[in-house]
Amino acid sequence: MSDEAAEPGQHPTQSKPLFQIGPVAVSKMLAAAVVVLAGLLALAVWLTPAESEEHSESLIHVAIKGEALFHLGPIAVTNSMIGTLIATVVLASLAFWASRNSAVVPGRLQGFLEFPLDFLGGVIKAQHPTRWRAILPAIITIFLLVLVANYVGLLPGVGTIGVNVVEDGHEAVAPLIRPASADLNFTLALALIAFVLFVSWGIRANGLRGYLKETFVANPPYMTPLMTPIHIVSELSRIISLSMRLFGNIFAGEILLAVMLALTFAVVPALFLGLEAIFGAVQALVFALLTLTYITLATAGHGGGHDEPHDTHAHDADDVALRAAAH
C-alpha cells in the first residue's frame, strides 16, 4: 500500500484511495461496504424486539417429531403429512402441466423442469449404459420429491402459522405445515424404498443365487465368518445413514432458521434462507446420487454380462427416447 502511494501512476485500474487510516488506504468501495453493513446492523438492532425475562427461557419451540393435528380414524394426521401432501400436489400439477403444454423448443418453465432430467439422466446413462431407462424414473422421482419437500420448508408461513393442539396433557402450538424432510418418518420411508430398490436391482442383475452369494459369502470363502456380519451391517447402515443425513440436514436447517428469526430480526434470516435453498438442492441431489451409487454397486457383480450386446447405435436410440420422454 505504501509504495502505491509513492507511485500513484503505477496502477491505473485500481480505484484511488479516499483517505488513509494509518497504513490502510480506504477506497470508495470499502467505505461504501462498511457504511452499508453498519446501516444494516443498526437496522437489525433497532428492529430487534426487547428481550422480556419470562420468554427468554424458551426462545424457540422445537419438536423433534411431527405433531398430530387431528385424527382420521386410527391414523393421526401430522403436520408433516400436510407438508408431504403439498409437495406431492406441486409435483403432480407440474407434471400435469408439463405433459399438456410441452413444446419441442422448451419455454422457460419447461426448460427449468427439464434441467434435472437432463443432468441426472446424463449421470445415470454414464453409469448404466444398458439399463438406464429402467433406473432413471426412480432416481429422478426421488430427487424431485426430496427437492420439493425440502423447499416446502422455505415457504413463508410454514412452521410459523400454527394451531393449538393438546399434546401430552398440556396445550401447545403445533405448526400447521412441517416440511416433510424434517420428519424422520418421511426420510426413513424414502430410505427403505431406496433399500428395496438397490437390493431388487442386485437380484435382477445377478440373479437370486448370485446376489445371495455376493452378500453372504466372502471372496476367499474362509473369510466368510468375519466378513459376512460386517457386510450385513454395512448394507443395513445405509438405511440409517440415508435417512439420518436428510433428516438431520433439513431439521437442523429449520432450527437454524428459527433461531436466526428469534435472535436477529431484519436481514439476517434472509441470508440463511438462501443458504437453506442451496442445502435443500444439495441434499436432494445427494440422496438421489447415493441411491444410484448403491444400485451401481449392487448391479456391478461379476456375472453382469447378460444385457451387454447393445452397441452405440442402441445408445443413440436411447438418447432419442430420453428426448422424447422429456418432451
Binding site: V62, M244, G248, N249, F251, V282, L289
Partner: protein
C-alpha cells in the same frame, strides 16, 4: 445442576471437528485438481458431492445424537 445442554453442545461441537477437517481436505484437493485440469469439472462433480455428503454424514450423526440428548 442440569448438564444436559452441555452434553448436547459437546456432542455436536466435538463431532463437528473431524468432519470439518475432512471436508476441508476434500474441498482443497478437489480445488487443486480443478486448478490443474479445469476440463475435469464435469467428471469431478458427482464424486465430489458424494464424498462431501459421506464426510458430512458423520457430523449429522453427532447432530442427531445431540438432538436426542436434548429432546428425549
Amino acid at each position: 445442576m442440569d448438564l444436559t445442554p452441555l452434553a448436547a453442545g459437546l456432542a455436536i461441537g466435538l463431532g463437528a471437528l473431524g468432519p470439518g477437517i475432512g471436508l476441508g481436505l476434500g474441498v482443497s484437493k478437489a480445488m487443486e485438481a480443478l486448478g490443474r485440469n479445469p476440463e475435469a469439472s464435469g467428471a469431478l462433480f458427482v464424486p465430489y458431492v458424494l464424498g462431501l455428503a459421506l464426510t458430512e454424514a458423520v457430523a449429522i450423526y453427532a447432530l442427531v445424537i445431540g438432538l436426542l440428548i436434548l429432546f428425549t
